[in-house]
Structures are given as C-alpha cells and as structure tokens.
Amino acid sequence: MKDRVTSFIFPALSLLGLVALWHFSIDLFAIPDYLLPRPSAVISHLKTGYIDGVFWPHFAFTLQSTITGYLLGCVSAILVGAVLAESRTFEKCFYPFIIALQSMPKVALAPLIIVWFGYGAASKVVMVALMCFFPLFVNTVVGIRQTDRQLVSMMQSFSAPASLVFFRVKLYAAAGHIFAGLQISIVLALIGAVVAEFVASSKGIGWLIQSSLANFNTAQMFAALLSLVAIGLVGTQTIQFLHRRVVFWEQAAPMTALPE
C-alpha cells in the first residue's frame, strides 16, 4: 500500500517541480513566448481545446485513423506472419520482398500514400497500418518459430493434427512475442498518423501542430503534443494490461526498446 502511494506521489512531486522550474525560468531568463510558452498558456490552450471543444474534431480524427490503421495493420501482420511461419513455400516466395520492404523507412512512403489514397482519412489509415505491420509481423514469425519443440512432439505423439498443434500450442507459445509487437506498434501507429497528417491533411493533431507553426503558436503546439502523449500512454497501458491478463502464464516482458 505504501509503495503504491509513493509511486504515485513521487512522480507527481517531480512533475510539479519541473513545471515550477519551467514557469520561473521564463521570467528569470526572459525567454520569449514563441520559444517556450508559459505553463499557464499551455493549460489555457488545453482548456479551450478540450473544454470549449476546439480540439475534439482533430483529436477524434487522429484517434480514429490510428485505431483503424492499427487494427488493420496488426490483424494482417498476425495472419501473414502465421502463414509464413507455417509454410516454407510461402516463406521462400515472399520473405525476401518483405525484408526489402522492412528495411525501407516507411515514413518516406507517406507522400506516395497520399497520392494513392487521397487527402482524407484513408491515407492516414494506410500509413498507420504500414507502420504497425512490420514489427508485429516479425514478432509473430519469431514467436511461432520458437515454440518449444518438445511440446510439439508431445502433441504429435498423441496423433494431434497440425491444425490443433497450431491453434492450441504455437499460437499460445507466440502470444508473448505478439504482445511485445503490439506494444511497439502502438507508438509506431501514432508516428504514422502524425507523419501522414504533416504531409497532407486538413484535420488531426498532426495538422494542428503544423498550423501552430504557421503562426508561431508554440503554446498550442505544446497542447497538441500533450494530446499525443495521452493517446500513446493510454494505448501502451491498455496493451500492457491485456498482455498480463491474456499471457498470464508468463511474466509480462518489460517494454522493448523502440525501433525507428
């Protein structure tokens, strides 16, 4: 109990300290507003944004394309990963191309995706899906491949058909890896959404950041960035919670270092 209280109070105290330091250093060093806004200015932007409601359409747009793209990317990554891990022929045909595509920075594809899928939500969804796909795909393949050989031969010794071995053994054995991939993909999904909005959009938190740049409204930029932090945090915490719940037989792996 004491641990839980201090693990809440200590970060709150250090946050308070940082904000105070921020507040007072602006006057102390005479930092202009367009470089570093006052905390109060950021808070007032958050207030007009979320209480008066100016930010909501943007927030909803980004959230919606992120979630849709995330689900699309993750489901296809698990499906393609599972097929590839199980079929040598499929692997031989497609693995080289997948590796080639993986080694390309996906962010560089954003302009092309805008050309193909337009300025609306579709291009954002595709960009997010593309970002999510690779880490989860690789994790799914590795997870299925590293299934304990002895568990598989145990199943075979009892005449289990391959489908049963896959659905009752390999998929579960890969669950830890799959959840680690889902976790990495959350952050990548947000990057994808924001980048696509940077390139071409008339809505979204990414667009909000860009339009704040046009009139040097740094305070609004900060408020938009905080919104992204909130989405990212809720996303990763949710996945972590699900990870512990679903893969209850393993100690949940600590969050993996982020690629890209």
């Binding site: 010794s157 009892f158 053994v169």
Partner: protein, 259 residues
Amino acid sequence: MTQGRVLEVAGLAVVYQSNREPQRAVENCDISVGAGEFVSIIGPSGCGKSTLLSVVAGLLEATRGRVSILGSEVRGPRPEVGMVFQRPTLLPWMNVIENVLIPVRALGRNVEAHRQQAQDLLKLVGLGTHARHYPHELSGGMQQRVGLARALIHDPGLLLMDEPFAALDAMTRERMSLELQDIWMARRKTVLFITHSIPEAVFLSDRIAVMTPSPGRIEREIAIDLPRPRRVETLASPAFAALCGEIRETFNALAGEHA
C-alpha cells in the same frame, strides 16, 4: 506376429544423417513386450534409448528393421500409445484437467464425455483437487503426475515412459516409483520404461533390457522375479541388492568391451 505381444521390435536400426558422417544411433535392436508386462530399458546416457522410444512412438522413422504394435507395423503416431516424457511438457496456458484431456482432443474424440474419466485419473495420481490449477502452480512431481494421467486418458494399450522421473529429486523419485507401481497394478497397462537408474528399473520391472551405447542395441535381458507389490522394504532386501549388483556387473563388463 507372436500372440500376446503388444510391442515387437526386430532388427531395428536408426542412422542419423549428419554433415560429417552418418551417426548410427541404434543398430540390430530387438525387444518385445507382452501384454500387461512392465519392461525397462536401461543404459548409459546417449546409448540410443530415447531414439528407440521415438521410433516406437512413431515420431522418428526407422532406417531398417520392423516395429509393430499389437500386430501392425508402426508408420506414425498411434492412438494405442500413451507417452510420458522426461519433462512434464504440459501446456502452460491450459489448466490441469484440460492438459489431461489433450489426447482426447488430439484424437478427435468427445472431450465432454471424457471429463469425468479425466477427473478420476487425477484422483488416481493424487491430484483430485487440482483439476483447475495451472501447471506453474504445481511442483515438478505434481506436473509429472499430470503427464502420467494424460498418457492414460485415451486408455492406450501401450504406455511409453522416457525417463519420467529423471528431473525429480531423490525423495520424490522414490515416492513416484511406488505410486507408479500401484497405478500399474490397478490398471495392468503394458509399459516400456526407460531409465538410467538401476534401482528404479529393478523396483518397477518384470524384465530389464540392458542397452549398450553407440550404436545402441539390447545386450542382455534379465527377469526380475521379486514378489509384488514391492514396498519400500523391498529396496533394502538382499534379493533386491543382488539383482542391482548383477545389472551393475553387466554394465561394467560391457564398458570394458567398449572402452
């Protein structure tokens, strides 16, 4: 085919293709096990005991020779076989009773119809109250008991046991031997048991086959005629010690030949 023989292995050879030269793991191996008989194969580590068992289980193809179970040749895993492994190899995401029911599921039989039987088997192995536990909540000995119940659920004609107690501590191991004997006497299964422990083999078996290493083959068979049920006191009896001594001598003689 000989009448009453559950398992028949004749002239078995298994050669592993490795990069350098073919490895002869088992050669000219003959053994047969009659109905209701408890036969142990004993031999040093790496003598091909597990290879032999994998072939009998239908997990590994024989290079030469014949293996037949209940009169028909083994070409793959068979429903008449139940196997207990060296490690418990339970699925960690399934609770105990679901793990016991794996062979039923694997054979495409009705799972619900076997649930009561699975519960009875768990009671038989002393885990009647642990059906809803998960493997990580059990000790090594308890996990191995689940493995035994699992190997019995589909009522196999032949029980294969690959050093099932090797990973357990000495105390648990002794108790498990006693329990296994009780279960065997209650169910009268045909058992092929693999071990490298001489006392364990003598305590449990009707007959012991001594295997020589590289390439593995059965060098000698010794009948164990100690009266059953054998008890803890049996372990201290002169007859028991004499049998252990005889097998140990056989081993030493063989080691001299192969050195």
